[in-house]
């Protein structure tokens, strides 16, 4: 009986630790999945079309919201993939603590995947969306619900993951 207890508890413990080894502790799941998109307020840019929450709710197609900044190096890594994605559905960009000119210069050079861009100057929109780093990307369904959140740059591997989710919808 005692041996049984010992074996079971050790097996359980090692199972947990083993499972723990597989997980990456730095990835934090979003608390907004399957919920409606949160309220947020953005500032207008001078050079790009603007959008608000109502714009995201109006169009009944899939869309993406991408949090980025021209000063964020990983954002540049995902940029070509964003452009590829923008051929499939509209991407709305939220630039965190950034300026018109810097965004313009960057997008002029490397292409503009965004249908519209808003500025999040004080970071409050980012907090409302539960964003904790840049870049972060949300996939939003036709009825305005958040389907999927991606943290960090979207790589080629991640593209296929996103297309899989699209196929399901």
């Amino acid at each position: 009986m005692k041996y049984f207890f010992l074996v079971i508890s050790l097996a359980l413990l090692s199972f947990f630790f083993y499972k723990g080894l597989e997980k990456d502790p730095s990835i934090i799941p979003s608390n907004l999945i399957k919920k409606e998109i949160p309220d947020f307020k953005l500032n207008k840019t001078k050079l790009f079309p603007f959008f608000e929450k109502s714009d995201l709710l109006e169009s009944k197609d899939l869309k993406m919201v991408n949090f980025f900044a021209s000063w964020c190096p990983p954002c540049k890594i995902e940029h070509p993939n964003l452009i590829k994605l923008s051929e499939k559905f509209p991407i709305y960009g939220i630039a965190k603590k950034d300026s018109d000119n810097k965004i313009y210069n960057w997008l002029k050079k490397s292409g503009n995947p965004f249908k519209a861009i808003g500025l999040d100057n004080d970071g409050s929109a980012s907090i409302n969306w539960g964003v904790y780093g840049l870049p972060e990307t949300f996939l939003i369904s036709g009825d305005g619900k958040i389907l999927y959140k991606h943290v960090g740059p979207i790589t080629k591997k991640d593209l296929s993951k996103i297309f899989k989710i699209l196929a399901r919808e």
């Binding site: 934090i28 608390n31 190096p73 970071g123 409050s124 980012s126 907090i127 539960g130 904790y132 780093g133």
Partner: protein, 125 residues
């Protein structure tokens, strides 16, 4: 992927010394005290196990400012914490919510204590 995340965290983790900045502090010392209390209960999401009061990361600063803004607008400690909780999930709370999946945190020590006391002081005749 892991590499990218590491790089991305490194950028935000260069300087440990920065925490609450002088221009963030509220004039009202009572509210500031509450803000600290809230801050100590919120975890910086990109750091290694630091609360937002003691963290230099961008997100920690934004959260500190948000907490103070909401406090001056008259929101209570409970409301603010539950707002941040609703956005970032359980991970952001340093003291876990009392729930079915966290019950063990309080129950197991109690069971352990009772069993141990029994082991030591039971009567063997």
């Amino acid at each position: 992927m892991k590499l990218f995340i590491t790089i991305f965290f490194l950028i935000f983790n260069a300087d440990l010394s920065k925490s609450v900045e002088p221009d963030e502090i509220l004039e009202n010392t009572e509210l500031e005290e509450i803000a600290r209390e809230i801050g100590r209960n919120l975890r910086c999401l990109v750091c290694q196990n630091e609360d937002i009061e003691n963290s230099n990361a961008d997100i920690a600063k934004d959260l500190r400012l948000l907490v103070r803004k909401k406090l001056t607008e008259g929101e209570s400690k409970k409301e603010i914490i539950s707002f941040v909780h609703s956005r970032y999930g359980d991970f952001v709370l340093f003291s876990p919510p009392f729930r079915y999946d966290t019950l063990g945190l309080w129950i197991f020590p109690l069971i352990f204590f009772i069993y141990l006391s029994y082991l030591f002081f039971r009567r063997r005749d």
